[in-house]
């Protein structure tokens, strides 16, 4: 009907339409939701710069955890629901760094360095297992994640950590939450941070996350990265190109586990505490929801999806809480609304299979 003689205006409209379509409906809905929350919060006199500061802090704290999803997706094992495994490796590193009485950057990077070999080992074992259950990686991953968290609940009690900052006052084992004050709390968040228009920018954390993203990006432009991506996209193609598909899947899982370990340390330095025992249980879902909202699918994803998704997901959480609290004075509402919003987004993201172009 309208074709050759379409006006430039009509054509421009169609172009915008196509652009939006390729950006993906879920993202647009989430963005509209976020903006409307922002507007509501300003109407409720919640200072916007503070909200935005929180969003940036959350972005810096969570980006690496979301990034951990990417190697798994690309190597063909789908969303990395084994994230608690990586997280526990990171936490072990953190605990050891306190046990060794390290402080500041030394403590942070010491924790990273000590968690890496653990993560490689755990990732290798987990990847080996995933190769045995091809096709149901997500379900199996979820259970293994949960199982490992439960197992480590005993671990935290029995492992020989004795530092007084961590130990219970009486009895054996270490505490549920360990303060990082004077250890590596805020080492990245406060590094080179500055204020602009009332917004605090946690430069160090953002830069560290960006560095991790850059490294992963570079990796996927290398020979092994390409091999891993091929194996994930089409195992048949990969085999016909002489690529060992199972090995690539294991490597992808190792990479995800390592990123999970580093990610939780970045998170903890921003949060100011190490959270042990049951805390890592659901973090996999949050990271998964973030990358899906960013536009990834179960089979494809990009760095940009990691960044956009982390920002959108956590920005909504950050602003939804004060808005809900102001609207209703019920004290317990904070926790309820938090779980309603986060689980709602997770469900929504998982239901939206289609990502961006």
């Amino acid at each position: 009907m309208e074709n050759a003689n379409a006006t430039p205006f009509a054509r421009a409209l169609r172009g915008i339409g196509a652009g939006l379509r390729s950006f993906g409906a879920p993202r647009i809905i989430i963005i509209v939701f976020l903006v409307s929350l922002w507007i509501t919060s300003t109407l409720l006199k919640i200072p916007f710069p503070a909200v935005l500061s929180d969003s940036l802090v959350r972005l810096g704290m969570n980006a690496v955890l979301t990034l951990a999803m990417l190697p798994s997706i690309l190597s063909g094992t789908s969303l990395y629901f084994g994230l608690p495994l990586g997280i526990i490796c990171g936490l072990l590193g953190g605990v050891m760094s306190i046990e060794l009485d390290l402080r500041g950057f030394e403590a942070f990077f010491g924790a990273v360095a000590m968690s890496l070999p653990l993560a490689v080992l755990v990732g290798w074992g987990y990847g080996w297992l995933l190769n045995r259950v091809k096709g149901s990686e997500m379900t199996v991953g979820t259970y293994i994640g949960f199982g490992f968290v439960s197992l480590m609940s005993f671990g935290w009690v029995t492992l020989p950590f004795h530092h007084p900052e961590m130990a219970w006052a009486i009895g054996k084992g270490i505490r549920v939450t360990i303060s990082l004050e004077g250890r590596f709390s805020g080492v990245l968040n406060n590094l080179w941070s500055f204020d602009i228009l009332g917004v605090r920018v946690p430069t160090g954390a953002l830069a560290f996350s960006a560095l991790c993203c850059l490294l992963v990006w570079l990796f996927f432009r290398s020979r092994s990265g390409l091999a891993m991506k091929s194996a994930g996209m089409s195992p048949k193609f990969a085999e016909a190109s002489g690529i060992n598909v199972n090995r690539m899947r294991i490597r992808g899982t190792i990479l995800s586990t390592v990123l999970g370990a580093v990610g939780i340390l970045v998170y903890s330095q921003g949060f100011g505490f190490l959270q042990l025992y049951q805390a890592p249980m659901y973090m996999g879902f949050i990271a998964a929801a973030s990358i899906l909202i960013g536009g990834a699918t179960l089979k494809t994803g990009r760095i940009s999806h990691v960044i956009i998704g982390t920002f959108l997901f956590h920005s909504i959480l950050v602003v939804a809480l004060p808005v809900a609290n102001t609207v209703s004075q019920l004290g317990s509402l904070a926790e309820i609304s938090r779980s309603v919003v986060s689980n709602g987004i997770i469900l929504y993201a998982l239901a939206q299979k289609g990502g961006a172009e």
Partner: protein, 528 residues
């Protein structure tokens, strides 16, 4: 009214745009009941797209729909999904298979149209809970398969069957539908050997005699001349001509398709072959379901083009797949005198063998990756080509990849919007050219090609075969072509080995008598 009801299908002014490129420009088409109507055109001319529109495929509607009108049996039809199309009595056999591998043949044929029986529960709670009547479903499936003269077990699983069989199952599924008025065949014979294709053409005639109209797409023009009543020629998305079969010739159709005349089939200049063997195969057994090799002995001379022919299911496909390690193989293979370890694709590729698979979308391509990366990926992995190194680290050299892709796109005339287009969006024939490019970049000493011209148009076919002959002539490459098209093998090969029942039945010269080839393929050679 009565005037329009003469037609099962009328398409008027159909246009379609994909991401801003017009791929169909005002196509008209009319078909009467019982008519067999051929559609011909080069790769990317828009044949499959037109059929996808007719069948309401989601690719069409998720990319902005189409313009124009469709009338089915005189009534305007708005076909939004394959389900609508099926309700209107349209069936389609797709160019790329749409079967569920884990299901049996019967289940695939009957999918969504299961025959059910009443049981006590369903009598109370309604028809959704009826028991599947497996026995009667099996009988129906058997009937459809017999119609196609296909002896395969109707309870066999589809996974692992050779592509030739899958094609027949797709057809059986469509034939089995009871309300079918119009059946679309998108290159049904591309995967079949000639004798099987003849079966299919016979089935097409039977169907049309029973009043079903048939739309038939193929690149084999002699098939068009054999079964079609009317023919529509497309070029670059435009309608070039409607013809009746009586008033045209193969040459004219070819000219209309390409817009210029095509020379004769190329010939491989015969040369005396050296006595050196490039490849010696002894007692090769390959476990490829449906195409098993059961003890192949074969020598490939250095610098020759050797053809491997034979009927589908006899094991000709298994040979290359086994040597390249894609299916478990046993036996002894020597490459230029050195023993070649079997079951290792990597080793085979490293030593200078390359393989162009018959399964182009599964094995051959990374559908969601760009044209340029598809071409480069294997070379990056095996030979470390297109890499810049920084100590132990490497980065893909985007510039080199791009430059090579641009060169190849030109050399092989790959029709795409550019090196960054995902190969999923290329037409079937152009995807095949990307596969060829991917094998050539390895610079192999010996190239296995399986069904190299399947689904590609006559112009491109010429180009592909010319390329193969040229590789042999200029680079001295040894080439082993496995093909179901005897005519093609005879035009380019130095020698042709015929496979029967998993073994080499014999080796013939390209200019040997037709009868010899026929006998050998049927396994009756030497029994006279």
């Amino acid at each position: 009214m009565s005037q329009t009801e003469e037609f099962v299908l009328r398409m008027k002014g159909i246009s379609k745009e994909y991401y801003g490129t017009k791929v169909l420009k005002g196509i008209d088409l009319e078909i009467r009941p019982g008519e067999v109507h051929g559609i011909v055109g080069e790769n990317g001319a828009g044949k499959s797209t037109l059929m996808n529109i007719l069948f309401g495929m989601t690719v069409i509607h998720s990319t902005g729909g189409y313009q124009g009108e469709i009338e089915i049996a005189g009534a305007k039809a708005d076909i939004k999904s394959p389900f609508d199309a099926m309700k209107l009595g349209i069936g389609m056999v797709h160019q790329e298979f749409m079967l569920i591998p884990g299901y049996t043949i019967t289940e695939n044929i009957k999918l969504n149209r299961e025959t059910t029986k009443d049981n006590p529960v369903s009598r109370v709670f309604g028809p959704k809970l009826k028991t599947l009547d497996m026995a009667s479903m099996g009988r129906d499936a058997r009937k459809a398969l017999d119609h196609l003269e296909m002896g395969i077990d109707e309870w066999a699983r589809v996974a692992g069957l050779p592509v030739g069989h899958m094609q027949f199952i797709e057809i059986a599924r469509e034939i089995d539908k009871s309300n079918i008025k119009l059946l679309v065949f998108d290159e049904p014979t591309a995967v079949l050997a000639e004798s099987e294709a003849d079966n299919l053409l016979a089935a097409v005639r039977k169907l049309s005699a029973s009043g079903i109209a048939i739309l038939f797409i193929t690149h084999r023009l002699h098939e068009i001349m054999a079964v079609c009543d009317g023919i529509t020629v497309l070029r670059d998305g435009s309608l070039v001509a409607h013809k009746r079969r009586e008033e045209t010739t193969i040459e004219e159709l070819a000219r209309l398709m390409v817009g210029r005349s095509i020379g004769d089939m190329i010939r491989n200049p015969a040369k005396s072959l050296p006595d050196r063997n490039a490849l010696e195969i002894r007692n090769l057994r390959v476990q490829m379901p449906g195409e098993a090799a059961k003890g192949v002995d074969l020598d490939v001379k250095d610098g020759e083009i050797l053809g491997i022919g034979g009927l589908a299911g006899q094991g000709k496909i298994g040979i290359a797949n086994g040597i390249l390690g894609l299916y478990p193989a046993e036996g002894e293979v020597r490459f230029h005198g050195e023993p070649l370890p079997l079951n290792s694709t990597r080793e085979a590729l490293k030593r200078g063998l390359a393989f162009l698979s018959e399964d182009r979308r599964g094995v051959g391509l990374l559908l969601d990756m760009s044209v340029e990366m598809n071409i480069a990926a294997t070379a990056v992995e095996i030979q470390g080509k297109f890499l810049r190194r920084f100590g132990p680290f490497s980065q893909i050299d985007g510039k080199a990849v791009r430059a090579h892709a641009l060169e190849t796109i030109k050399a092989l005339d790959i029709r795409c919007t550019g090196p960054l287009q995902p190969v999923r969006r290329l037409s079937g024939g152009n995807q095949q050219k990307v596969c060829i490019a991917k094998a050539l970049v390895l610079g192999p000493r010996l190239l296995f090609v399986s069904e190299p011209t399947r689904g590609i148009d006559i112009g491109a076919k010429r180009l592909v075969l010319e390329t193969l002959v040229d590789l042999k002539e200029r680079l001295g490459m040894t080439i082993v072509i496995t093909s179901s098209e005897l005519a093609e093998l005879r035009s380019v090969c130095d020698r042709i080995a015929i496979v029967h029942d998993g073994r080499i039945a014999g080796i013939l010269n390209p200019d040997d008598d037709d009868a010899e080839f026929g006998l050998m393929m049927a396994g009756d050679y030497g029994k006279r």
